[in-house]
């Protein structure tokens, strides 16, 4: 499958919308970081998506609202890109009843919002991979032209769940797009110290499925590959795998200073900030100017501030409501 190099103004999506989505994620995450580290308002684990924005936005912009997304604990980016209400997302970080999960999930599960096609977010590395196969099975069985996208990291590739899920998806020709966001690290361990295969793409190909490697910091490349793949996926004819190469701008979790990384490596990647790259491209192609960007940024920042206010003002669920949420009762 060849990905054609379409000029920006011939894309079937507004480039500025891609930028805006990326900025939403960026500003959301920066605010989360501040709420944890500066203000100390938030506690618990949180895994920021800073630096990976182009992947969530590129992929999810190729999806329809009722397409399925399933992801991991590093899920804020996917939630925003798929169109969740930012206020609900923020409220979930605060553990409030107005959150996506009524405050019971928190950061690691905040991207659960079936009304937005956000089916599930798990905190157990790799566990979403076989579940994604099952989602795709339901679409295939019911003959629904719904695509399932499953996000996970490079570290997940070493889990038994990955293996069993990939094998099943390929064997049963399930309509699922597996997107491995290879940010080179699983927690504090570089991929070269955890993966025996030459590459993730090669590992994936051994399951007899189509595999693409894409620059995960280039939103247009990601979008184009995704668009083509999703089209194919909708035809319900077997899984496709994308290895999107990227980098975490920050540490594994919000408290992690990431000192274990080579400063050269970090600098090199910081040069490749997906938002700056795309912004410059848009400016160069005269689809945006500095002022337009500033305006967009302000807009997004306000949105995030509104969300914080909303979250702060929301209540925590009553404890006695909890028992009603364990089992479904008719």
């Amino acid at each position: 499958m060849e990905i054609k190099n379409i000029p920006l103004n011939e894309l079937d999506v507004e480039p500025i919308n891609l930028l805006k989505k990326m900025l939403q994620i960026r500003k959301f995450e920066e605010k989360i970081e501040e709420l944890f580290l500066v203000k100390g308002t938030l506690i618990g684990p949180a895994h920021l998506y800073l630096g990976q924005e182009a992947i969530a936005v590129g992929i999810c912009s190729a999806l329809k609202k009722d397409d399925y997304v399933i992801t991991s604990y590093r899920c804020h980016g996917h939630a925003i890109a798929k169109g969740v209400n930012i206020k609900k997302l923020m409220a979930e970080m605060f553990g409030k009843e107005t959150g996506t999960c009524k405050g019971l999930g928190g950061s690691m599960h905040a991207a659960i919002s079936p009304e937005d096609g956000l089916i599930y977010a798990t905190a157990i590395v790799g566990s979403q991979i076989p579940i994604a196969a099952g989602l795709a099975l339901s679409n295939k069985y019911l003959n629904r032209k719904i695509a399932t996208v499953c996000f996970f990291g490079d570290g997940a590739v070493n889990t038994g769940a990955f293996h069993e899920g990939m094998n099943l998806a390929s064997l049963w020709k399930l309509p699922v797009l597996y997107v491995c966001e290879n940010n080179l690290y699983a927690e504090f361990t570089h991929i070269t110290r955890s993966l025996s295969s030459k590459s993730i793409a090669e590992r994936a190909a051994s399951y007899n499925m189509k595999v693409f490697i894409v620059d995960g910091n280039d939103v247009i490349s990601v979008y184009k590959v995704a668009k083509d793949c999703i089209e194919k996926i909708r035809n319900l004819n077997g899984p496709i795998f994308i290895e999107a190469r990227t980098y975490r701008m920050k540490g594994h979790g919000v408290y992690d200073q990431a000192k274990y990384r080579d400063p050269n490596e970090v600098n090199e990647w910081l040069q490749r900030d997906p938002i700056r790259i795309f912004k410059e491209k848009l400016i160069k192609e005269k689809l945006l100017d500095e002022e337009g960007y500033k305006k967009l940024e302000r807009e997004v920042i306000n949105e995030v501030e509104d969300a914080v206010r909303f979250a702060e003002e929301s209540k925590v669920l009553e404890f006695n409501e909890l028992e009603k949420l364990v089992y479904f009762e008719k």
Partner: protein, 327 residues
């Protein structure tokens, strides 16, 4: 009434429900073309096709994971884990994913899954194919646990489990598969959460789970000859546990024996006993007796396995404690 085997009862339940509801699929190792190692799913693939009856690779994580995903996507999967021992391989999916999905999503998700499995204690399968550990699952809020002991209950409870909108672990006993029992031709279901008094009695309450129910009945017959009238109760579902039926009986008899195949330490017998203590302490006129497997893995040797297992003699012996004299 006609008699059929436990296996046939299970099969009928699945078939009837599959006919009723197109969203039901069956998946597991060798459940399709071969019809299941114990033949529970025999004939299904011929009747419902490969779309609805899926043979999987040896991938317990993927079996349960795919079932979970299918349920989230609107299907009603019945997943078979061939031996209960293998459920451990998929425990993350069962307990950390499936059982918690609804709760931690704030009630957004519905996960109608039945996980059928069986334990083979009593068939010389050795340490790794004979484990029975319901207590782990009842310790994990979010999943219901069913453990029938008769073909009648098996059918009625499996049908209800399939109609549930919650995850259900349905534990069968391999040695019961060929046992026969009355099962009406007409459709019926048995609600989860209702214990069944298998035999009425006044002097002592015997609570027995799964395979042990038959042993309890045998013991009660021996007791009857000695003039002791035992009430035998099968909880049938462990979550939800129908403690009220048990308590009513205990309040009448004042004496309790609890019998199950798991290893005693933190077993299902520990909890049932404690709930009795907590709710009917004053009615007890003797310590509660628990008859379970000993604190050992299961030995292969058929002779040793027999000594390992709960049987009517061990129940009788246990009851002597309660009566304080040799029966």
């Amino acid at each position: 009434m006609r008699e059929i085997t436990f296996v046939e009862a299970l099969r009928e339940a699945i078939k009837e429900e599959m006919k009723r509801d197109e969203k039901i699929i069956v998946l597991g190792e060798d459940v399709g073309r071969y019809g299941g190692v114990y033949k529970v799913t025999q004939g299904l693939i011929e009747e419902f096709g490969e779309q609805r009856v899926l043979d999987t690779p040896i991938s317990e994580i993927a079996i349960i994971g795919a079932a979970a995903g299918a349920a989230l996507g609107g299907l009603k999967p019945i997943a078979e884990i061939m031996y209960m021992d293998f459920a451990m391989i998929a425990l993350d999916q069962i307990v950390t994913q499936i059982a918690k999905m609804r709760f931690m999503s704030g009630g957004q998700l519905k996960i109608p899954i039945v996980i059928r499995t069986q334990y083979s204690l009593g068939r010389a399968h050795g340490s790794q194919h004979s484990q029975f550990f319901p207590s782990w699952f009842v310790n994990s809020p979010g999943i219901k646990v069913v453990s029938p002991s008769t073909p009648y209950d098996a059918k009625g409870l499996l049908k209800s489990s399939i109609r549930e909108e919650n995850p259900v672990l349905f534990i069968e006993s391999g040695v019961l598969y060929r046992t026969k029992g009355n099962v009406p031709e007409e459709e019926y279901t048995i609600p989860l959460g209702k214990a069944d008094i298998k035999k009425k009695g006044d002097d002592i309450t015997i609570i027995a789970v799964s395979r042990c129910l038959n042993e309890a009945i045998k013991a009660s017959n021996i007791l009857e000859e000695k003039g002791i009238s035992a009430e035998v109760i099968d909880p049938r579902t462990l979550i939800p546990l129908d403690i009220n039926t048990i308590l009513s009986s205990v309040k009448k008899t004042g004496k309790v024996v609890i019998v199950a195949d798991d290893v005693k330490f933190c077993s299902i017998t520990s909890e049932i006993a404690m709930q009795i203590i907590e709710n009917a302490f004053d009615y007890l006129d003797g310590p509660i007796v628990r008859i379970t497997s000993p604190p050992l893995p299961v030995p292969f040797s058929p002779e040793l396995e027999k000594m390992y297992m709960v049987d009517e003699n061990k129940i009788i012996k246990g009851i002597q404690q309660n009566f304080g004299y040799k029966i």
